[in-house]
């Protein structure tokens, strides 16, 4: 891939950037989940590693979070944008060279940022932990080139309309830049106090709401119709989804700080808007499930659909939790407990990861013109992810309910720690399964690139039979 950095744009084969992004994403996924498993081990067995500052929990926790968000999830998004946006516009990527450079700078910048973070160079703000000069690299070296490629590819498309997926891609790349610029302003301008606290969570909420959730959904708007051959059930519901994301998902940031002394009107407003997140959620889930009409056997037989529809189905509990857990009636009980950790993993490891995994599976096969090396390994990956995640989610939800009860009944904290111990072990086991599944995935995709059945021109990957 490095040889394309200094090649002429015309000489770079179409899809090079997407392939580069795809494999980078898988590697970052392994790194991120490996760190997660390592951290979970320390919560279950506190004397597992000690005496080394760089291996302390407080130095590694945020590296896990950002490796997964900015490495795995966002790079998988970039990969999807690099092949889906041109495909839907019946054209080529605006600049393959920009894409290759984008991926290169992304890997270098993220590795540098995470290394600094690991050393302890942090802004001390959750999700926007990176110090401000790394934030500037992310905004101008990573997000802007990505957005530019997406917007220009949409502009130079050779189709009349713009398909739903591309509305989301175009809008989300724009919104995420605004979110990074505004959300990190406490660091750029040394803003303090409640403004800083609020903007921290404004960032954390909107990076989820205006970047991860809509882009993940946009991917499934492409994968499901493309693989099943069914047209999207309703473009109008797609409109409803898009506009309600922009209007409702961008406003409830304050619901992350329901127990902080923020203005009461802000918390009430955020809480009401937070329930309205169910509007885009229901629109999205119903649209995708109805698109599956008549093709449900593919949920069992086809690996991309299996991943995508599992992700879509997980959006149901995700949004039911998300919509209601932030209301005052429920938030006082579960705020700050493992319930929230479980919910965050349902969003990122459940819902969104399954959609991105499908995009990477499908995209790499399409771009490399190679059929997936092994269906058995892909199924193994799927079940390791699903069982591992479910183990994690159930154990953390139970731990959270224990913590919540301990909190309101004023149980001495150490008794809560003792009660949580078995669930901490279960969470570590679940997380480790996800990590091992991903290692198998990388092997499978590597073998696909090297030894997968060649897909003849004019055929789609899922139309071919597996050889293994």
């Amino acid at each position: 891939m490095f040889k394309y950095l200094f090649a002429k744009n015309e000489d770079i084969p179409a899809g090079a950037a997407a392939v580069f992004f795809g494999f980078s994403a898988i590697v970052w996924f392994i790194v991120g989940t490996g760190l997660g498993s390592f951290n979970a081990a320390k919560l279950a067995f506190p004397d597992f590693i000690y005496g080394v500052e760089m291996l302390a929990f407080g130095h590694m926790r945020q590296v896990h979070v950002l490796a997964v968000i900015l490495g795995w999830i966002s790079m998988a998004f970039a990969m999807a944008m690099m092949y889906i946006t041109p495909a839907l516009g019946n054209t080529k990527l605006w600049s393959e060279k920009l894409g290759v450079w984008n991926c290169f700078l992304w890997n270098v910048g993220l590795a540098l940022g995470l290394f600094l973070l690991w050393m302890g160079v942090t802004s001390g703000r959750e999700y926007s932990d990176l110090p401000w000069f790394i934030d500037l690299v992310v905004i101008f070296g990573v997000l802007f080139p990505l957005g530019l490629n997406v917007w220009m590819t949409i502009k130079t498309r050779r189709t009349q309309g713009i398909y739903t997926t591309n509305w989301f891609f175009g809008a989300a790349t724009f919104m995420v830049m605004i979110v990074f610029l505004v959300g990190n302003s406490p660091e750029f301008f040394s803003l303090t106090g409640l403004t800083e606290a609020y903007l921290t969570w404004w960032f954390a909420h909107n990076v989820l709401g205006l970047w991860i959730t809509p882009v993940a959904a946009a991917i499934s708007y492409y994968i499901v119709p493309k693989v099943t051959g069914n047209p999207l059930y309703s473009h109008r519901i797609g409109h409803l989804h898009f506009w309600s994301v922009v209007v409702f998902y961008s406003t409830p940031a304050a619901h992350h700080l329901m127990s902080a002394p923020l203005p009461e009107w802000l918390k009430s407003f955020a809480s009401v808007e937070g329930v309205l997140i169910l509007v885009p959620a229901i629109a999205f889930v119903s649209n995708l499930l109805l698109t599956m009409t008549g093709k449900w056997k593919m949920f069992v037989e086809n690996v991309e659909i299996k991943f995508t529809i599992s992700g879509v189905l997980m959006a149901i509990p995700l949004n039911m939790q998300g919509g209601f857990q932030q209301t005052r009636a429920i938030n006082w009980y579960i705020h700050g407990t493992g319930w929230i950790v479980a919910h965050a993993h349902l969003a990122l490891l459940g819902f969104s990861t399954f959609l991105e995994a499908a995009a990477v599976y499908y995209g790499l096969q399409t771009l490399l013109r190679r059929k997936l090396y092994s269906l058995a390994l892909a199924n193994f990956h799927f079940w390791m992810l699903l069982i591992g995640f479910t183990t994690y989610w159930i154990s953390m939800t139970i731990a959270g309910l224990i913590q919540g009860a301990g909190k309101i009944y004023e149980v001495p904290y150490i008794d809560v720690v003792i009660a949580e111990h078995p669930y901490m072990i279960a969470r570590w086991v679940g997380g480790t399964m996800v990590f091992l599944g991903n290692c198998v995935w990388l092997f499978n995709m590597w073998k696909t690139a090297r030894a997968g059945t060649v897909i003849p021109a004019g055929r789609l990957p899922h139309e071919l039979a597996y050889e293994r």
Binding site: Q62, G120, T122
Partner: protein, 316 residues
């Protein structure tokens, strides 16, 4: 591209997104900026200094260029005994917190008093200054303000530090950096909830308790007790020392990591700390082969451990 819908759509998008940003950014900003700082808020920012996380004055988060909190018992100018007073010593070159750089964020009352009675505009970072928090009654309400003791009382930073014993110095500013760098706030919140927490962890904070503080490091995940008022619950330096070195010494079921690496190489007496021997003895102790655990070394006065303990003890 010549679709009229897309022009309408782009404008509608701008309207929707812009309205959302107006409600969630501009309106709260106006509300929050009208809040006047409390005495707690003044104490907090003066003890932490400009930045508790990454900043130009302390790029690698080593706790350098931070103020020292001290308890003054004799007037550094006259030498007369005075009521013990909490003061914040900013030596020359230590950056001021936001309340001093931009007094507007203190709110109307405290800003005016800090300027007129407190004479904070006469302080400069290049010369350093000593600050104290004072309160006066105005219209039946106690209004706090910052007093530049260097201008008002003639307390020079170096003379003040010279008059204060080691036991009355608290490296709270450096400790906040340790708190952030070591990720204490991933498990310990700094925000008691407005539900029933106040019965167990103490009163929830007020709106003006944070003006001038960055980062607030509230934390979101409570794997461990809230620390906002921990210094009031447990003020034992000895307990904190044992607990940071190895939490299992005082709480066998704790899952907190050991922070023994914050001790550095030598203890308070200048003796090299032999961690290897300590671990071996501790393993014997936890296996039941020893009656008592090995002795925990006292942290040296410049160690990161001491600063972190100072910070925690001052969370009241």
């Amino acid at each position: 591209m010549a679709f009229r819908e897309y022009k309408i759509g782009a404008r509608m998008f701008g309207l929707a997104f812009g309205t959302s940003m107006f409600i969630t950014l501009y309106m709260p900003a106006v509300d929050i900026s009208n809040v006047s700082v409390t005495a707690t808020g003044l104490h907090r920012q003066l003890s932490f200094g400009r930045m508790g996380g990454f900043g130009y004055e302390d790029m690698l988060l080593q706790g350098i260029n931070k103020p020292v909190s001290v308890v003054i018992k004799t007037d550094p100018q006259s030498g007369a005994a005075i009521e013990p007073t909490r003061a914040y010593v900013y030596e020359a070159g230590v950056p001021f917190p936001n309340g001093l750089r931009h007094p507007r964020i203190l709110g109307k009352g405290p800003e005016a008093l800090s300027m007129s009675k407190g004479r904070i505009s006469e302080s400069s970072e290049s010369n350093g200054a000593v600050f104290i928090v004072r309160e006066v009654e105005q219209n039946g309400e106690m209004v706090p303000y910052i007093e530049n003791a260097t201008a008002v009382r003639g307390w020079a930073p170096s003379a003040t530090l010279a008059k204060v014993s080691e036991a009355d110095r608290y490296h709270v500013g450096k400790g906040k950096i340790m708190f952030v760098r070591e990720g204490c706030w991933w498990c310990h919140t700094l925000l008691p909830e407005e539900t029933q927490d106040w019965q167990y962890f103490g009163a929830p904070p007020m709106l003006g308790d944070f003006n001038g503080e960055n980062p607030t490091a509230f934390g979101s995940d409570r794997k461990a007790p809230d620390l906002t008022h921990v210094g009031s619950r447990n003020s034992s330096r000895e307990w904190m020392t044992l607990h940071f070195f190895n939490p299992r010494l005082v709480q066998p079921h704790s899952i907190m990591p050991r922070y023994d690496y914050l001790w550095g190489d030598v203890d308070a007496n200048g003796n090299k700390i032999n961690f290897k021997d300590w671990y071996a003895s501790y393993d014997e102790y936890s296996a039941g082969k020893r009656v008592y655990p090995p002795e925990v070394p006292e942290p040296s006065k410049d160690s990161e451990a001491r600063a972190l303990i100072d910070f925690v003890l001052n969370l009241k």
